[in-house]
Symmetry: D2
Subunit: 366 residues, 4 copies
Amino acid sequence: MEDAPTHDTVKHSMQPEDTPELRKLYAGFKEQHIVPLWTQLGDLMPMHPASNAVPHVWKWADLMPLARASGDLVPVGRGGERRALGLANPGLGGNAYISPTLWAAIQYLGPKETAPEHRHSQNAFRFVVEGEGVWTVVNGDPVRMSRGDLLLTPGWNFHGHHNVSDHPMTWIDGLDIPFSRQNDVGFFEFGSETVTDYATPNFSQGERLWCHPGLRPLSGLRDTVSSPIGAYRWEFTDRALTEQLLLEDEGQPATVEQGHAAIRYVNPTTGGDVMPTIRCQFHRLRAGAASKTRRDVGSSVFQVFEGTGAVVINDMEHRLDVGDMFVVPSWVSWSLQAESQFDLFHFSDAPIMERLHFARTVVMDE
Amino acid sequence: MEDAPTHDTVKHSMQPEDTPELRKLYAGFKEQHIVPLWTQLGDLMPMHPASNAVPHVWKWADLMPLARASGDLVPVGRGGERRALGLANPGLGGNAYISPTLWAAIQYLGPKETAPEHRHSQNAFRFVVEGEGVWTVVNGDPVRMSRGDLLLTPGWNFHGHHNVSDHPMTWIDGLDIPFSRQNDVGFFEFGSETVTDYATPNFSQGERLWCHPGLRPLSGLRDTVSSPIGAYRWEFTDRALTEQLLLEDEGQPATVEQGHAAIRYVNPTTGGDVMPTIRCQFHRLRAGAASKTRRDVGSSVFQVFEGTGAVVINDMEHRLDVGDMFVVPSWVSWSLQAESQFDLFHFSDAPIMERLHFARTVVMDE
Amino acid sequence: MEDAPTHDTVKHSMQPEDTPELRKLYAGFKEQHIVPLWTQLGDLMPMHPASNAVPHVWKWADLMPLARASGDLVPVGRGGERRALGLANPGLGGNAYISPTLWAAIQYLGPKETAPEHRHSQNAFRFVVEGEGVWTVVNGDPVRMSRGDLLLTPGWNFHGHHNVSDHPMTWIDGLDIPFSRQNDVGFFEFGSETVTDYATPNFSQGERLWCHPGLRPLSGLRDTVSSPIGAYRWEFTDRALTEQLLLEDEGQPATVEQGHAAIRYVNPTTGGDVMPTIRCQFHRLRAGAASKTRRDVGSSVFQVFEGTGAVVINDMEHRLDVGDMFVVPSWVSWSLQAESQFDLFHFSDAPIMERLHFARTVVMDE
Amino acid sequence: MEDAPTHDTVKHSMQPEDTPELRKLYAGFKEQHIVPLWTQLGDLMPMHPASNAVPHVWKWADLMPLARASGDLVPVGRGGERRALGLANPGLGGNAYISPTLWAAIQYLGPKETAPEHRHSQNAFRFVVEGEGVWTVVNGDPVRMSRGDLLLTPGWNFHGHHNVSDHPMTWIDGLDIPFSRQNDVGFFEFGSETVTDYATPNFSQGERLWCHPGLRPLSGLRDTVSSPIGAYRWEFTDRALTEQLLLEDEGQPATVEQGHAAIRYVNPTTGGDVMPTIRCQFHRLRAGAASKTRRDVGSSVFQVFEGTGAVVINDMEHRLDVGDMFVVPSWVSWSLQAESQFDLFHFSDAPIMERLHFARTVVMDE
């Protein structure tokens, strides 16, 4: 795609002279539910994406006490459904939207608690930065949740969670709630008040059927809209990233850029994104490495999984520790810098942008 | 797809007790840019799409005087770019959005006027309910605009218009401006202050290359994101609809439903929609015919092109005359009823819904 | 794709020494239905495609008397099914195969004759170099056959022909019979002894529904494996080619190469080839123009429709008149040279090569 | 798809009367390289696929002594390229074709031997029924070959093999040589006289980059025509089959049919077949289980990997032991019967049939 316009000296500005006739015309517009383009063009059609959303960093050290206090004060059950703390982008007017398309939340489930089953059109995933002891039950298939795992609940699959341990557990949820709400696409249905299967197997049925590299069950030849894999285990992610860096050491073209290993979680029936609206990826930078500065159409959210480093957003550097989360709105520049080996989980609305042909990326030269 | 939930007796409602501790927690949320899910769930994730947008009908008889007055009072030129009156859905807070995804406007160009060239990521089309005399120049290719024609300017193509006649001309514009604005995907670039080619050929280059049914130029074997056809002429649309009704008379399965002929405008390189975000269709009902009542995820806009009849939206009947426009928000029921032979142009955001797998339709049995 | 190997000085040649033990081994091979690779490699896996098929030209002036004599001597009816003279490539051992994949034949139908209905997996088309008066009935839809028309009967559609005139008619048939026979994919079923509809409409139902450029009936939204258009009329083909040359005159990029207009007949539901195994195209060269010399993987058959010129195959020039047909086997070089304006119909097995990723083309520099 | 015609009482049979005029006509045909359809129809277009190929079983016990004797008598090196014994279908006239599309061979490499590098358009794989000690080097990436592994060398990748051990090794090769030869699509190029990398890593670069279930390297986002995985390890295949049977025991829908687990080897960039012309699968039947009898368009080859059982082809039962191979031609019925737990490797030309829309399958009811 083309680069963004780099100068916009000509402005959207021309306006008609203010006269009694014009005021009468504008009154007529109002009465007839008409708004003229010429009064709004610059805001409606900016020279490049100019999001109301702003970059923001949430510190894990600030979030966790609030999550724990919620665990003490707020019940979880039918009605409220989930004890989830939505990260609200400061630029989006108090809505619990981390970006115009994405929702990100901290979910907290106390010892022995159950979050009841429901399903919705919205696509959802969970990523576990720490802890274990919870099983999420997706369409009747119990899926263990452990540190470093990505768990999927694609649109219209029933799901509930239960904590079998005697300690609370916290994870992040990612959904396309803002997109669904803005574009009026969502359906919601309540399911069982409990989870439909309290078994705690080590591996879900979906994993046992689908997590064999390059092998497809003959009982699963029909392509699916979303991935049939319920859990992407940390063990595999870690090994994939480790191998990329080792291959790089051996002179093979395995990494995205020098010192930067990365994988995309995919739907094995198509090789494409795990869900139609959300891309999930994982990045690992070697100690001392930095990613190139880039801008993308569409918004991204990251969570630090391991190590320390920084992100530079719009030329401002933010230091990051384990658990910290940040959002990069559309067309805002960003780059990652690793102090130690630096692992980050990353999700975005890129599938929307690509499927509708709005995707553009600029990588800055150094 | 599944039907919508037909009863939602269980409500999103459970709330924690109001205590000093809870208030302190909520204050902490605010400070940390956190919004809890449990206070918002019902609004964020309704049982079925519950659009802020409302159904509305704009009468051509009301719009035209305002367009003419704008022609007298408002110049057209660099800055304002277009003399376009945006139809503002009464439910969308005063924005010039006819639905959460779509923009619809009346554009008015006076005798000998030129609307300067620009380009933008937003996909656009024009449909001509009456008149002639204007050429739109798309990437240097002059395209005649005449009654009944659909004219395309897909994203990032330069385009300007000029009126060679001594009378004004009016048409409707459709774009994905609201979608682009909400999701931060739009780029904009100014082009020539005039149009780059003032020729007035009867047929554009794109038509001459591509408008031969079932024939593809060997110079155009690469599929394109949007249709390479700049103008879909009324003559062809009319003939296609006429033939469908004749075939129906002969007992052939050519119509959508009894007495209801319809075509979709498509990209000849793929057979799919003309642009990635906007579907364009045309409906013809025989006098006395009615379409079945249906609900769709996604929003639609119609303009009456010929004949009289009515639309029933959410059980309310609206009588319609030539030029009248109306919007059907997501998941609102609608059906068309023809008094005379009844021709309507129709556009929607269906490609978005289908590509992201949110599309659902329910057709009611009678 | 890569170029072909241009030198093959190293030969497939190494053979073991002839000893009693080797002879015993070879006897064992024979007994066990084993053939060793090392005795056959050069023939099985040549350095580049080395077809048994040879280039050949059939002169219309030679073919027509045979067709007429067949009309006098050979009945048409159930059993033989068609009075078709298959063009047998001289290199393919007496089989009626014009190439390893394709069948081409002259079909001749006398006044008032009927060729009975049948269907088969093999994909078929007809192209009419002269005459009129026959209707082909495809799945009950009568399709007029006139000069310059391409008529389709994709696999497993019932079809029969009848001549309503008092003069005989001749046309060419193209099918994938050799491919189907070699690869054991064909089914065959007899249908009506007559045609199921003796009506003689000017336009078939398929045309009336589908031949409106860029317009798709809403009753036909499901993509089809083969084109739903039964007849591609000469009027449209001629106009498309005429426009390409006019656009070239105006400086637009409309032709394949200087003086060479060409169209591909396509399936309007996909923009792709009309049938899964056969590509159909039409070429027009200006008087004096020549196409660049090229080699393609896969075989092509041409028929001169209008004008005079020549084809150079493997550096040998063959002069061509109206109706003459020729075959270009895989990886044999060819170019067209126009004396007058020169129109040629062209079909090939290119969809097979492309879908299986064997396609390669080299265009020689001048 | 439709069922095959089940009765074909009407025969292709009608022939003209033998007269001097007819003989003269036929002489004219011969002179002009014409073959009439009516003399050949039944053979060219049978009522259903009627392959010249016949079902046949090759016993491993017969093959191995021949392979060993070849090792003693026939060198391996540039020219002959490979010590490969092609299984020649008894119905295909002495060609080393196991079916009209497929090649299957036993390849034998002695201690410390090297088979030199070359590349060709033909797609190839190897499957290892026993042994170890050989590395195949594919485009410079050394790939270990061990028991139960499937190794790929898709078209136009350089490859050679070398045996590092002091014992010989035997495996089977599968290619699309007959298809390529018949359709004239093949190119061949010699490479290094030795292998380009004599390293013996446990895992190839391709595996290290791609064999992490559901994870795609960001350096490999471009889809590839064939799988980027060089080796599909037995460990994964075995585990996938084991899990399917365990899930079946637990009441989950994981197997193809009762007691019959099966996987397809796939290209992780698309979820589709490993190569454009060849499908590879693996079947496991529980002791005592049987697969349903079926017919498919296209040909299949099987090798028993473990266990004993039988195949019933065209109602004739053939008992099978480890290493035995058999071919099922197009539209011939087959079913598997397990005595012990029964493991079979299976390859076929199904991608050709599916991509060209000739695929049909009938599963017989019991």
